[in-house]
Amino acid sequence: MAISNEKEEVISCSKVGVIVEAKEAQISTGPSEGEAADKIISDTVLSLPSHAILDLLSIGVCTRCIFRLFGVRGQIYWSSLLSPTIFAPLIQKSNGSDDEHSKGLESEFCSICLGILQFGFSKEKQNLVKSELINNVSEEIAKFIKQEGHEIDSFSLEVSIPPIILANERSVWLYLKKKYGSERWFEEKFHAEHVTVKDAFKLAITSSLETLLTAKSEISSSSRIRLNHTHSKASLNLEKESVENADGANVKRGAECSEQSNGKTDAAIQRSLSRLQDHAFCERFKSPPEKVNEPCKLEIICNRAPIYIGGRYLKYSRNVSQSRWLIDDERKGEASVEEIIGSNILPVCRGDNYKFHAAGREDIDVRMLGSGRPFLVEIQNARHVPSEVSIGEMEEKINNLREKLVRVRNLQVLGSEGWTLMREGETEKQKQYAALVWISRPLEDEDLQTIASLMDMSILQKTPVRVLHRRSPLDREKIIHWMKIERMVGSQQYFLLHLCTEAGTYIKEFVHGDLGRTYPNLGSILKCRAEILQLDVTDVKMDCFN
């Protein structure tokens, strides 16, 4: 049996253009073209073995499933022209005025596709929709997407069907094989390479969805529309059957969780079904399958791949941490960069959630000034991708918050490349700082020269005591590229130390020496005790979001 795979999906989506033509022909054209389509269909009907068609109709197989099983291809067959009435001439021919067949058809859903190809479905707390009109399904989807507020210009469609459909199809095939296996048409036309329910459904719905959503169907689209069809009772039985049959029997699932069958179990069921020999299959499944009076439940999921908003942030407070920071449920610091930025971006993008990533971090009591630090906000399932204008407004809003704790610069929307951009930019960075330092003796002019003369000085840093409990004990060599002392008017012992260092240098420890564990340190160079009171990052040299 043909089971849809990636390749097939690619092909089916590329056929979309043809459907559009067929649909347009149906909707907007004069009678001549519509008649032409009718003629193609009636010719096809006449080419099929009528006794087998009638048999299939009597066991509740729908029009589109019949066409599928007979390997009929061509997009027109998945359009709305394909109503059950096309078989009326056949029925009349065999039975005179007997319309019991068509009556019977109306009262139930297809015994193979469970109504999926009759475009019938039910929704939670809602009566079933029975139509034969694909637009009813696509309107439902469009309505949902509008309700959820998704703004999409393209989409990729995923369809899932209850695994019982595969069993139904096989059961019908075995039924026909038993009855008509020796007839010539069975060998010729009724072969395994038919259009699957999934593909037929996609073919039928794609163009009308494109029209209603004014969006293109693209395999690579970042917006994913998933249509989950479930048929609880039938799925449940099958799952029990086939899973028990699977050699390991280790995937036995409780009834409560099997109602929404996920992709993994679907695949497992498919595998165990195909492993089943025909006679074993017949023992477990009725042939032909039972008729159904209830359509599939349709669940619509729309999800956009994460969008990234990048930039650089500045932090003006010594009481704001980079990420949300709780110790024993108690907040550390008055706010966090993550929350200030995230809470202003998320509502604009109308996403489900956000994640904040930054290239490195500073201590809570260290301000981030100058160039700022590169960051990325990852928005999950954004309904709206902000335009350049609204990005500007976002930046403005964050920068004009009442408490000026954080600012942002160079805010921009990025695709999935945002992540790589920051990862690459993160390497080979230097950082520049300004430290407020006190020394245990008055500062001399000579000290300024001593400090200024030290270029690219190597220091050896043991893992600082303050992080030694959770980091490896190591001796790291770091480079202090340059230093400059700026005197402060009114003080002999306080001064500003400007310094540029290799990434990963612990500055506080370089100043106070960390019990001599960072050596040389500022105190050892100036031959006195040195203490650090404040630290600011003044530049992060990185090749991104500059």
């Binding site: 003006y316 980079q322 408490e403 409990h469 004990p473 009114g490 003080s491 019990l515 203490e531």
Partner: protein, 217 residues
């Protein structure tokens, strides 16, 4: 960002230069308001702190980052040791200024080759601190010998825990104990378990208690 706890407000508790009348008031004691900061694209003004708010003498890094405890007369009279406890649980062990070895003596050698193993040869590695040895409070860390004859003193752990490192600089520069026993002359870093720490803490004196005991107030 390091997740150590820090006393963010300690500047306020200390005497400021202004309080001490140390700065002339010609210096504008003015911090730019936040709106001024924002308009100011040149961050330099932001960097210069308000001198008025700075303490005359700031607390040392040890004062800021550790809580100081003392073990007076540990195992022997006048064998006073300190235990500096970091909020992350690590304990820095060293000789208190009142330790008998430091009284009018020059420290000549520090020998970590005590007991079954040389303490300076244990190489602890990884976040999980592989190879760290678990020591008892009375386990010897090193032997300190002074220039005063053949006298030597055993320095001990004081708290039960894993020995993370000893101060190897003391092997070549034993005089760090004379110049800076409370900083660069520390002896070792020990990581006790939380329960062991609670037990150890009960045996130790606080800085105030210790000062009172030794008449240092």
């Amino acid at each position: 960002m390091e997740k150590e706890q820090k006393d963010e407000g300690y500047f306020d508790k200390t005497q400021t230069l202004k309080d001490a009348g140390m700065i002339e008031f010609s210096v504008p004691c003015h911090r730019p308001s936040s709106s001024e900061q924002r308009k100011e694209e040149e961050p330099h003004e932001l960097l210069v702190p308000d001198l008025c708010s700075l303490p005359l003498t700031p607390p040392t890094a040890v004062d800021c980052n550790f809580t100081c405890y003392f073990a007076p007369d540990f195992m022997k009279p006048d064998h006073d040791q300190y235990v500096y406890r970091h909020p992350n649980g690590l304990c820095v062990i060293g000789l208190a200024s009142t330790h008998v070895a430091l009284k009018g003596n020059r420290v000549k050698t520090v020998d970590f080759n005590v007991g079954k193993s040389n303490r300076s040869e244990i190489k602890v590695s990884g976040k999980r601190k592989r190879n760290a040895q678990r020591f008892e409070p009375n386990t010897a860390l090193c032997k300190v010998s002074t220039s005063n004859g053949d006298t030597s003193y055993i320095v001990r752990c004081c708290v039960k825990g894993s020995l993370l490192e000893v101060n190897e600089r003391l092997i070549k520069q034993a005089d760090l104990l004379n110049s800076s026993a409370d900083r660069e002359g520390y002896i070792a870093i020990i990581m006790p378990t939380p329960t062991d720490w609670i037990k150890a803490k009960n045996q130790l004196l606080s800085l105030e208690e210790f000062k009172k005991l030794r008449g240092l107030c």
